[in-house]
C-alpha cells in the first residue's frame, strides 16, 4: 500500500478522535508510517457485527416481554456476551445459567445469585429483576 493510498474513510473511530497507524510505502517502495481515519470495508464488517448483536438483543427483549425467557438472556446479549463468557464473570456453571433463562427458575433466584449476574452486567439487582422487556 502506497502512503497516498492509506484510506481516510469515515468510521466509528473518528467519533473519539482516534486514528490508526498503518505501514505504507513511499514513492521508492520504502516503508514509512501514516495515520488512517478508517477504511470502509472494515467499517462495514464492524457494523455487520454490531447489527447482529442488536438483532439478538432485540429478539431477547421481545422474548422477555412475552414471558418466554428471563432478563438474564437479554442482558447477556446486551453486554455482547455468550454463555461461556457469562459463566466466567459469574463463576456459575454454564448449565445453571441456561436454566436461569427460564422465567420460572429466574423468579425463584436468591439475591446472592442475582447479585453475581448484576455485577457481571454492571447493573443493580433491582434493574435485573424488574426488567420487563
Amino acid at each position: 500500500m502506497k502512503k497516498s493510498e492509506v484510506p481516510q474513510d469515515k468510521s466509528n473511530i473518528e467519533s473519539v478522535n482516534m486514528r490508526e497507524l498503518c505501514y505504507a510505502t513511499d514513492e521508492n517502495g520504502n516503508y514509512t508510517t501514516a495515520l488512517s481515519s478508517g477504511w470502509e470495508p472494515k467499517t462495514i464488517a464492524l457494523s455487520n457485527a454490531i447489527d447482529d448483536i442488536k438483532e439478538r438483543t432485540e429478539e431477547a427483549r421481545q422474548k422477555v416481554a412475552n414471558g418466554e425467557t428471563s432478563p438474564i438472556l437479554y442482558f447477556m446479549e446486551f453486554s455482547k456476551m455468550d454463555v461461556g463468557i457469562l459463566a466466567g464473570y459469574t463463576g456459575l456453571w454454564q448449565w445453571r445459567i441456561k436454566r436461569h433463562f427460564k422465567p420460572k427458575v429466574f423468579a425463584g433466584l436468591s439475591d446472592k445469585v442475582l447479585q453475581k449476574y448484576a455485577d457481571a452486567f454492571l447493573i443493580t439487582v433491582n434493574e435485573l429483576r424488574n426488567f420487563k422487556g
Partner: protein, 331 residues
C-alpha cells in the same frame, strides 16, 4: 507517581508494548523488528471455536508469543506474573511504578472506556502499558491510540480481570534484563526460518494450507448455512483480518517493513526484493477484504460471489507459498 515513559503509537498492540518497553529500557527497536523477530505473521483457522457466533480465524500467534519469542531470540529476559486476586495484582503494579518500572499488561477490550463503543468486544488479548498513577487514575499508554490516556483503578481492575477466552488473569510483564551485545543477524535468520516453517506447515488449518482450507469452506457456506450466516462469517474474516491494525494486509505491510530493515542488517539485496513482493501480497489481502465487504454489504445471494472470493483466497495462498519458499532460501 509517574515514570519517564515515552508513548509511541503502533499498528498492533503487542508489538507496540514490546517496542515501547524495550525503548524505555535503552534498546531502540522498531515495531516491524519486534514483529519480524517475534515471528508475528501467522494464519490459523479454528472452525470448532466460535467467536461472536462465527468460526475463529487468527492472523497472529497466541497472545504473548511475539514478545516471548523476541525476548528469547535476543537474549532478553521478561518477567511475567498472573494473579488470582485483584489485590495482589494491583499491589504488584504499584510496586513496579514505585520502582520506576513501566509495566505491560494483558487486558480485555470490553471495559476499555476510552475505546469507541463499537470496538468494545469481549476480546482479551489486548496489551497496554501502565506508566504511572495520579490519585485514583492510572496513566495508560495504549499503543494503538495516538496519545496517552487514563483509567480509574476500578476500570483497570475490570479489564485486567476480564473473563472469557484468553482471560488475562491480571497478567503483568516487563523486561528485567537486556544483554549489552545483541546478535541481530542470528536472531533475524532464526525468526525468518520460523515464520516460513509456520506458514508452510503441513497442517490443514495452519498457514498457507489453512488459507486453502478456508477457501474451500467459503464455497460451501452459502449452501450449508444460508446466505445470512455465510455473510456473517465473511464479515468475521474481514474483521479478524483488518481490525485495529491486525491481520491480513496490515500484518503483511509490517512484515515487509521488517524485511526492509532486516535487509540492511543482513546486507542482503534479496530480502529487499522480497519485501516489495510482500507489499504486493498485502495489497492482495486488502483487495480481498474489499471484495468480501461488497458481498456482505449488498447481501447478494449469488453463489458465484463466494466462488469468486474463494478463488481470490486461493490465489493469495499460492502467492504466499511461493513467497515463503523463496524467503526460506534467502536466509
Amino acid at each position: 507517581m509517574k515514570t519517564d515513559f515515552t508513548h509511541h503509537q503502533s499498528a498492533h498492540c503487542e508489538n507496540g508494548v514490546a517496542s515501547n518497553l524495550l525503548k524505555h529500557n535503552g534498546l531502540n527497536i522498531s515495531e516491524p523488528m519486534v514483529f519480524g523477530i517475534g515471528s508475528g505473521l501467522f494464519f490459523v483457522y479454528l472452525p470448532f471455536i466460535k467467536v461472536n457466533h462465527a468460526p475463529a480465524f487468527s492472523y497472529r500467534p497466541l497472545p504473548g508469543i511475539i514478545f516471548s519469542r523476541l525476548a528469547k531470540r535476543l537474549g532478553i529476559k521478561i518477567k511475567r506474573q498472573k494473579f488470582s486476586g485483584s489485590q495482589a495484582a494491583e499491589k504488584a503494579l504499584e510496586d513496579n511504578l514505585k520502582k520506576n518500572i513501566p509495566s505491560g499488561l494483558q487486558v480485555g477490550v470490553y471495559n476499555l472506556t476510552y475505546f469507541p463503543d463499537d470496538y468494545r468486544f469481549h476480546f482479551n488479548a489486548h496489551n497496554l502499558v501502565v506508566y504511572g498513577k495520579e490519585e485514583n487514575n492510572y496513566l495508560i499508554s495504549d499503543p494503538v491510540m495516538e496519545t496517552v490516556t487514563t483509567l480509574t483503578a476500578e476500570e483497570l481492575d475490570r479489564v485486567r480481570f476480564a473473563k472469557g477466552a484468553f482471560a488475562p488473569k491480571g497478567q503483568i510483564y516487563y523486561p528485567v534484563y537486556i544483554p549489552e551485545e545483541i546478535d541481530f543477524k542470528k536472531a533475524i535468520t532464526k525468526a525468518i526460518k520460523a515464520t516460513c516453517r509456520d506458514m508452510l506447515a503441513p497442517m490443514p488449518i495452519i498457514g498457507v494450507a489453512g488459507m486453502r482450507y478456508v477457501s474451500k469452506q467459503i464455497r460451501k457456506w452459502p449452501a450449508k448455512h444460508g446466505v445470512r450466516k455465510a455473510n456473517h462469517y465473511l464479515a468475521q474474516i474481514v474483521r479478524m483480518q483488518e481490525e485495529i491494525g491486525t491481520g491480513g494486509g496490515g500484518f503483511r505491510f509490517i512484515y515487509a517493513a521488517f524485511l526492509q530493515e532486516a535487509s540492511v542488517i543482513m546486507e542482503s539485496e534479496a530480502l529487499k526484493t522480497l519485501s516489495f513482493e510482500m507489499t504486493e501480497i498485502g495489497d492482495m489481502w486488502r483487495d480481498f477484504a474489499l471484495e468480501a465487504s461488497r458481498v456482505y454489504k449488498k447481501r447478494s445471494a449469488q453463489q458465484d460471489v463466494y466462488n469468486l472470493l474463494a478463488d481470490r483466497l486461493l490465489e493469495i495462498a499460492g502467492r504466499e507459498e511461493e513467497f515463503f519458499k523463496k524467503l526460506r532460501k534467502a536466509v
